[in-house]
Symmetry: none
Subunit: 245 residues, 2 copies
DNA sequence: TTTTATAGTTATATTTATATCACAAATCTT
DNA sequence: AAGATTTGTGATATAAATATAACTATAAAA
């Protein structure tokens, strides 16, 4: 890989388990004049990062061996390198922001190459600026709403806990995420496709009926009468929504 | 989500010399609501692409007359259309990326149909994102008009809900779409043919009187006196329209 | 390891929407 | 007014969408 490292070019470490994605990133970043190194799993990524000390890291969250969040934490622990997280699901964004990982930026898939390159440049620039003026960059307020209350529903996003009519209900993670997505925009009808993309992730190629089944399981837990749902409602021909009252 | 508002379907050009493969692709993409055109050799593919300007191209590498790589290059030269390369061998991947073809994505055979469809969607979406950002990278500019108000009618496009004189009316999806189409251009008389094309879809071969029946069912729900409609009016010999009042 | 929980898939049942048709009513033409 | 044309209406068969149940694979826990 050492064959054509440009002299002054910045080096970017690309971490993703999917070869096509890596290829596209490599191709486009090279075209922009950057050097690239690749890793396809989390453990390797940490090793390479510590050894090669890249100028920036593009880091997918879903990784074999060691997930992106852990990689981020470990690397940030010993290196001061900008990290841009790549994520396919909305629910992962919360993790990036919620846990204090120190990730500098994130970008959701599918991303346009143009946008990604722009972010890379911006983050590299930030480093230069910071190293020039040591004024501790003001931390952005990443406090997010930690509770959602809609009608008889009450979601505690920190505790991953749901209450219906005051009573604690035990949902699985997947069920919780679906309910959360719907409850965060009550009365808004959401298609199965949107749910698949936002909750399961755009890289998920599963059956769309999976959504129905998950909805049914949620209903069994939160509705009094499953055959006449009052909270999680079907909009026939479109999708599902949470009733406001 | 926006997947099939008024069915202005995207067109996909499928280029492969093997008929069975084309058939499978056509069948599945049609099922997803896309239009398809086919080409079985490279030279034809270029011609068709330039003439029909498809929204996306699925392009096999191994082709008679003109190979996929050359097709890609030529098309990209004059059109800004996403191209997904289909390849049977890993070794071909290098070619796709190595040459400056500008292919957007590739997928190796044998591929799952689900995955391919998902890739198609993702790549089409990417285009939309980019063309939205073309302006000035406005954040949530996609806030579309979510309400239509005409006279006593009130359509909430997010909730798929209709109110008449303040009261919520329960419409089926088909009824809602007809009403929405009419209400989005009040006082404008719309022919049955136009409604069939825009709401039912241009590929619909059904009876034109179907429109009448749907209109009638809408009237039953929104008009005080069905025999003297005040909202959804018939223009005899032409079609229907929504009175502005 | 065995056991248990979770999630995805598939097949079938059930519910709901809607296209079509036949005829009635209204409107237009001459 | 008679006939022709267009639109309205009710019934019904069919198609489509959704719910449900059962099964399977996989991951997590014990």
């Amino acid at each position: 890989m050492e064959e054509e490292l440009f002299k002054d070019a910045k080096t970017i470490l690309i971490v993703d388990d999917e070869q096509p994605i890596r290829d596209i990133l490599v191709y486009n970043l090279k075209k922009e004049g950057y050097n690239t190194i690749e890793a396809s799993d989390g453990a390797t990524a940490v090793d390479i990062a510590l050894e090669k000390k890249p100028d920036l890291i593009l880091l997918d969250i879903m990784l074999p061996k060691l997930d992106g969040l852990s990689v981020c934490k470990r690397v940030k622990n010993s290196l001061n390198v900008p990290i841009i997280m790549l994520t396919a699901k909305d629910s992962e964004i919360d993790k990036i922001l919620g846990l204090e990982l120190g990730a500098d930026d994130y970008i959701t898939k599918p991303f346009s190459v143009r946008e990604l390159v722009a972010r890379v440049k911006a983050n590299l620039r930030k480093v230069e600026v910071v190293s020039n003026n040591q004024t501790g960059d003001k931390k952005e307020d990443k406090r997010k709403e930690s509770k959602i209350v809609v009608g008889e529903l009450e979601l505690d996003l920190d505790k991953f806990e749901v209450k219906v009519r005051g009573e604690v209900i035990d949902l699985t993670l997947r069920e919780f995420e679906v309910l959360k997505f719907l409850a965060s925009q009550p009365e808004q009808v959401v298609t199965r496709e949107t749910l698949l993309e936002k909750v399961w992730g755009y890289e998920y190629y599963g059956d769309i009926r999976t959504v129905d089944v998950t909805v049914r399981r949620i209903r069994e837990k939160i509705e009094k009468d499953t055959s006449a749902p009052k909270i999680l409602i079907t909009k026939r021909g479109v999708g599902y929504y949470i009733a406001d009252k």
